[in-house]
Symmetry: C2
Subunit: 246 residues, 2 copies
């Protein structure tokens, strides 16, 4: 029987990994944050063919001895110079013709940056541009996003990166209500009003204040700090912290 012919160690010693087709695998990152209260993504202008002049998500090849999540974290720190951001796998794009150079399968990740991290990334990587992201409209959730330069001009995205960006926004919207991704876009301590502003910006709606506060406080994911914001010319709001999930 085959089963008894080798031990697993012997089997592995004789195994020839060269016999299989291989593909280039990359990670691409949607670096998403809020800029002036509006969703924005960090993009890089392509200075080479193909899709020269179009705008692309930062990304990089996955090393042969590198976990996917590690590759995403490496690209995040290379491009944005920050370790602490929320990072989650989005989806894997593997259409044969998605890159005309060769077959490249890319695992897309969503990275959420708070305002400070977003600004830090811009300093750390001067080739990144904060592009405004609008849509897909909540009532047409499978639509496309429109991406604009800081001056408001529309930007064309390279490859299938528009699809990736649209998926990132949809994912963020879908998880906003029941997960703690919303906190990732805020500093460590924040007011309930700031949290509501974030939700409204992501969902493209206005929310009811008292209902929002009720839901957030009842959900038990917020810990009051006792401290209050400083520097206001009016009644300062209480500062909360995201409670570590169990």
């Amino acid at each position: 029987m085959t089963e008894a012919a080798f031990t697993e160690a012997e089997f592995l010693a004789r195994y020839d990994p060269g016999a299989y087709e291989r593909s280039a695998v990359t990670v691409d990152l949607v670096l998403l944050g809020l800029r002036d209260g509006r969703p924005a993504a960090l993009l890089r202008r392509r200075d080479q063919h193909p899709d020269l002049g179009r705008w692309a998500l930062p990304g990089g090849f996955v090393g042969p001895a590198e976990d996917l999540d590690a590759a995403a974290a490496r690209v995040l720190s290379e491009k944005a110079g920050l370790p602490g951001a929320h990072l989650e796998q989005l989806y894997t794009f593997g259409a044969v013709d998605r890159d005309p150079r060769m077959r490249i399968i890319t695992v897309a990740y969503l990275a959420l940056l708070d305002e400070r991290a977003f600004a830090g990334a811009l300093e750390h990587a001067p080739d990144l541009v904060p592009a405004g992201v609008t849509g897909p409209l909540p009532e047409r959730p499978d639509g496309a996003v429109s991406v604009t330069s800081p001056k408001g001009e529309p930007l064309g995205l390279a490859f299938d990166h528009g699809d990736i960006l649209a998926l990132a926004v949809r994912r963020l919207r879908g998880k906003l209500d029941y997960s703690d991704v919303g906190f990732a876009l805020l500093p460590e301590r924040f007011t309930l009003r700031q949290l509501q502003d974030v939700h409204e910006a992501i969902l493209c709606t206005t929310l009811n204040k008292s209902a929002f506060r009720r839901r957030m406080l009842d959900a038990g994911r917020l810990a009051p700090t006792g401290a209050r914001e400083a520097g206001t010319s009016f009644r300062p709001a209480e500062l909360f912290r995201a409670r570590r999930a169990l």
Copy 2:
């Protein structure tokens, strides 16, 4: 300037794809259905090292000129002999040591089979075994699944396939309420009671009959056929069909 030196066509003609690290890429399928009203997955016993004797998800390598979705559909029809099943990408698993033979990145897909397709797959591929899947418990959604043979004996899964299976169940549960994945586990025409049974089996709960009917009918995803089920010895229920999403 680099930009003007070549056209895109010239650039591509000179491009050398050999310069990048590559990885073996596979798709693995969670073939999920209901057997006697309980969740079950189709698994294959490994007859080779590594993990000889453990139970694995059906899968296959992604061809060099094959889209990811096409590879998943191919494996589905090879292993289960059916084209029409619901198929969606789940997650990509790429830990360096997930397979001791070599670096293999696998894109996991969830395939939902109705009772007929499930039985058909068992006939088409006699090496597949319908394994009962229980858990993760709804109150511990990030727990592990336990997998049992048709006789009720626990089965050990190969590689990280237990994680993949658990993720599949969680995804199915999460989408059951707002999407139409529930319909994929039923024949084309079904009664509301059958639909409720499916939901209860997947969610591991009991649901309120009148509230369930209200929700389903109000959601507008059901189309009445006018026909009624046949062969009952009591009042036959109305048959519905899933309405095509816009």
